[in-house]
C-alpha cells in the first residue's frame, strides 16, 4: 500500500477572477501515502493559492484534484469543507490558535467539527481531552503549565507545537504545513521538525510542507519546486502580487 495515491492533481489551471493570466498551471502533482513532501517556492509563486485549492476552499478554473480518491469537482463547497475537516490537518506560520480557547480546547476543536476524527480518537482514548493531553505531552509540552496560561502567552515554539497537536488530532490522512517553522529560531526549528515527522510517521500521515527556506528540503522524502511544476507565466503573477 506504500504507493497509494493520496493527492493527485492533473491539468490544474487557476486564475483569479478578472485576471487573464493564470496563477497556477500544473500538469501533474501526485503524492503517495506517507510521503513527506517539501513544496518550495518564493513568495508570490502561488503557494497559498495551491494550498487553498488542495484544501477545497478555492475552486480551480479547470483540472482535476483528487484527494484520497475523491474528485473535488464532484463535491459541493460545504462537502469539501467537511472533507477538509475529516481528512486534513493544517499548521500555519504563526497565530495558529484560537486566542479564547485553552491549549487543550484548541487541540480538541477539530474533533468537534468532524465525527470521523472524533471517532478515530475515541477508538484509542477514553476522552477527547485525554487524547489532546497525551498529544501535547508527546510534543514535549507540559499540560500542567499550559492549563494556567492563555495560549497567546505561550512562546511561538510552544504555540506551533500546540498547533501540531491539533493538526495530528484525529489522525487525518494529510497534514498541510504552511511555513510552520519560519517564525521559529533555528535551534528549535530542528526539534520541531523532528517532532512533526515523528507524529506523521507514527500515524502514516502524508505531510505537505510548504516553505521558501530551501535548506530544510534535505530532510524530506521529496522536494518539489513550485516554480518548476507551475507553468503559469511568472510575470503575470508578479503583477498580481506586487501591484
Amino acid at each position: 500500500m506504500a504507493n497509494q495515491i493520496v493527492l493527485h492533481i492533473s491539468d490544474l489551471v487557476f486564475s483569479w477572477p478578472r485576471s487573464t493570466a493564470p496563477l497556477l498551471n500544473i500538469d501533474l502533482l501526485s503524492v503517495a501515502k506517507g510521503e513527506k513532501i517539501f513544496l518550495h517556492g518564493p513568495s508570490g509563486s502561488g503557494k497559498s493559492t495551491l494550498l487553498n485549492v488542495i484544501g477545497g476552499v478555492l475552486e480551480p478554473e479547470r483540472g482535476k484534484i483528487e484527494v484520497l480518491g475523491k474528485n473535488f469537482s464532484e463535491l459541493t463547497s460545504s462537502r469539501k469543507d467537511q472533507f477538509r475537516g475529516d481528512h486534513m490537518g493544517f499548521i500555519f506560520q504563526m497565530f495558529n490558535l484560537l486566542p479564547y480557547f485553552s491549549a487543550v480546547e484548541n487541540v480538541v476543536l477539530p474533533c468537534e467539527f468532524s465525527k470521523i476524527k472524533s471517532k478515530r480518537v475515541l477508538e484509542h482514548a477514553t476522552s477527547l481531552e485525554e487524547e489532546a493531553k497525551r498529544l501535547l505531552t508527546e510534543l514535549r509540552l507540559s499540560v500542567e503549565d499550559l492549563s494556567h496560561k492563555n495560549v497567546t502567552k505561550l512562546s511561538v515554539g510552544q504555540q506551533q507545537r500546540v498547533a501540531t497537536a491539533r493538526a495530528v488530532m484525529g489522525r487525518p490522512e494529510i497534514i498541510i504545513a504552511d511555513e510552520p517553522t519560519s517564525a521559529l529560531d533555528s535551534n528549535i526549528r530542528e526539534s520541531f521538525l523532528k517532532l512533526l515527522f515523528e507524529e506523521c510517521h507514527k500515524f502514516e500521515i502524508t505531510l505537505i510542507f510548504v516553505s521558501h527556506d530551501i535548506s530544510l528540503g534535505t530532510k524530506f522524502d521529496r522536494v518539489i519546486s513550485l516554480c518548476e511544476i507551475n507553468k503559469a507565466n511568472m510575470s503575470g503573477q508578479m503583477e498580481r502580487e506586487f501591484i
Binding site: 475537516g85 484560537l98 467539527f113
Partner: protein
C-alpha cells in the same frame, strides 16, 4: 454545539466591548419598556378617573372642556346650567341617579366642589370602586366640608379644623369667604384621581356663601348676611355647573344624550365619558408618542453601536475565521457565529434591561405613586411589552446580517491563509 462555544468564548474574550454593548442594549431596552410601562400606567389611571357614569351634562361648550372641568377639575365652565334643568333630568324616568357638581370656588389652590351626598354614595372610580372615608364622614350641616386625601395631606387638615373658602379658582384669591368658615368633617381615602385634590361641600353651602353677592361681586358694606342668619334661611341653589348621570339601562344612553342635547329650555351638552376620555387621551397622546419614538431611536442607536463594535473587531478576527475554516468550518459557520454573537448580546441585553426595569420599578414605584399619582403595574407585562421585545430581537437579528456578511466576505477572500 461548537458554534455556541465559539461565539460565547469569543465574546468573553472581548469582555470590555461585550459588557459595554450589553449595557447599552440593556439601557435602551429598559428605557423602551419603562416608557411603555409609564404610558400604559398613565393611560390606565387616566381612564379610571371616573367609572360607572353614563353621561356628563353641562352647559354647551366642547366635550373635552366639559370633561376637563367636571372630572379633572381643570379649567372653568363657560356657563352654568339652571337648577331647574338639572331637576328635570334628575327625575327623568330612565335615570337611576345623578350627581350635581357646582364649581367656582377654591381653597388654597384646591378646587371646591359643591354637590350632594349622592356624590359619596354613587361616585365611582377605577374598577367600580366607591369613595371611602379615611376619617370622619359625609357633610351634614351647612358649613361642613369633606376634603380629599391630597388636600388633607398637603395642608395637614384633620377632622374638626376650621377653614375658609375663596372665590374663584386661582391659587391666590383676593376674595375670601372668610365670613362663613367651614368645618372639616371628613377626609376621603386616596383614590389617585382628582377627587384627592378636591374639597366637597353641599350645593346649599355654595349658595350660602354667595347669598349676599350681587352679580358675582362681593356684598357692599352693610349688605352682608352673616353665617348665623344664613342658617335660618331656606337655601335653594339657582344653578349647577354640571351633573353626572347614571341610567337604569345603558341601552337608553344615546336617546337620553340626544334628548339632552336638543333640550329646548337651555343649551345643554351631554357627553359619553368613555368616548371623550379617549379623545382627550389621543389629544395629549402626542407627547406619549414622541417619547416612544425617542426611545425607539435610542434603541436603534444602541443597535448601531453593537454593529459598529462587531465590525471593528472583524479585521482582527480574520485569522480566527481562517483557522476555523481550516479545521473544517463551513462558510455558513462563519456567518452564523456573528449572528449568534449578536443574539447572545441582544438576549443578554434584553434580560438585563428587563431586570433593571423591575429593579427601577421597585425603587421608583412608590415615589411615582405618591408624587404623581401614577400607579404602575410591577410584574404585569403588557401585550406591547412582548411586541417590543420581539421587535428588539428581530431588529438585532436583522442588524447582525451586516457584520455576519462582512465576516463571510472576509473569509471568502482569505481562504485558509491570512496575509499579514
Amino acid at each position: 454545539m461548537v458554534i455556541f462555544k465559539v461565539a460565547k468564548k469569543s465574546l468573553l474574550n472581548r469582555k470590555a466591548t461585550t459588557l459595554l454593548t450589553i449595557f447599552s442594549l440593556a439601557l435602551s431596552v429598559s428605557l423602551l419598556l419603562g416608557i411603555e410601562r409609564i404610558r400604559s400606567g398613565a393611560k390606565a389611571s387616566f381612564e379610571s378617573t371616573v367609572s360607572g357614569v353614563d353621561l356628563i351634562v353641562g352647559a354647551r361648550s366642547g366635550p373635552i372642556n366639559l370633561l376637563l372641568y367636571s372630572i379633572f377639575r381643570i379649567g372653568d365652565a363657560t356657563n352654568n346650567i339652571s337648577y331647574k334643568s338639572y331637576e328635570e333630568f334628575k327625575d327623568h324616568s330612565v335615570v337611576e341617579w345623578t350627581i350635581p357638581i357646582s364649581l367656582g370656588d377654591s381653597h388654597k389652590g384646591f378646587r371646591v366642589v359643591g354637590t350632594n351626598r349622592d356624590y359619596f354614595k354613587f361616585y365611582k372610580y377605577s374598577n367600580d370602586e366607591s369613595l371611602r372615608f379615611f376619617q370622619g364622614n359625609e357633610f351634614i350641616k351647612l358649613f361642613d366640608v369633606v376634603v380629599g386625601s391630597e388636600v388633607a395631606k398637603s395642608l395637614g387638615y384633620q377632622v374638626g379644623d376650621k377653614i375658609t373658602l375663596s372665590h374663584g379658582t386661582g391659587n391666590i384669591s383676593f376674595q375670601e369667604h372668610e365670613d362663613k368658615p367651614f368645618t372639616v368633617v371628613g377626609i376621603l381615602d386616596r383614590t389617585m384621581t382628582p377627587v384627592d385634590s378636591s374639597l366637597h361641600v353641599s350645593l346649599e353651602a355654595i349658595t350660602a356663601i354667595h347669598v349676599d353677592w350681587q352679580n358675582g361681586a362681593p356684598p357692599a358694606p352693610g349688605e352682608e348676611i352673616t353665617a348665623e342668619k344664613v342658617l335660618q334661611m331656606e337655601l335653594k341653589p339657582a344653578d349647577v355647573t354640571a351633573f353626572l348621570v347614571r341610567l337604569k339601562s345603558r341601552i337608553a344612553v344615546f336617546n337620553v344624550q340626544r334628548e339632552i342635547n336638543s333640550y329646548d329650555e337651555e343649551s345643554l351638552l351631554a357627553i359619553l365619558p368613555g368616548v371623550t376620555l379617549r379623545d382627550l387621551w389621543n389629544t395629549i397622546g402626542i407627547a406619549e408618542k414622541s417619547l416612544m419614538i425617542v426611545s425607539i431611536l435610542v434603541f436603534i442607536v444602541s443597535l448601531v453601536g453593537m454593529v459598529i463594535s462587531l465590525l471593528a473587531t472583524l479585521n482582527e478576527r480574520r485569522r480566527e475565521m481562517a483557522i476555523l475554516r481550516s479545521i473544517g468550518a463551513k462558510k455558513r459557520f462563519i456567518f452564523s457565529v456573528l449572528v449568534i454573537e449578536t443574539c447572545i448580546l441582544t438576549i443578554t441585553g434584553v434580560l438585563f434591561g428587563i431586570a433593571s426595569l423591575y429593579v427601577g420599578l421597585l425603587i421608583f414605584r412608590p415615589v411615582l405613586e405618591s408624587q404623581m399619582g401614577l400607579t404602575l403595574g410591577l410584574f404585569e407585562p403588557t401585550e406591547n411589552d412582548y411586541r417590543y421585545i420581539v421587535l428588539v430581537l428581530v431588529g438585532s437579528l436583522l442588524a447582525s446580517i451586516v457584520p455576519a456578511l462582512r465576516a463571510y466576505k472576509h473569509s471568502l477572500a482569505d481562504g485558509l491563509v491570512v496575509k499579514n
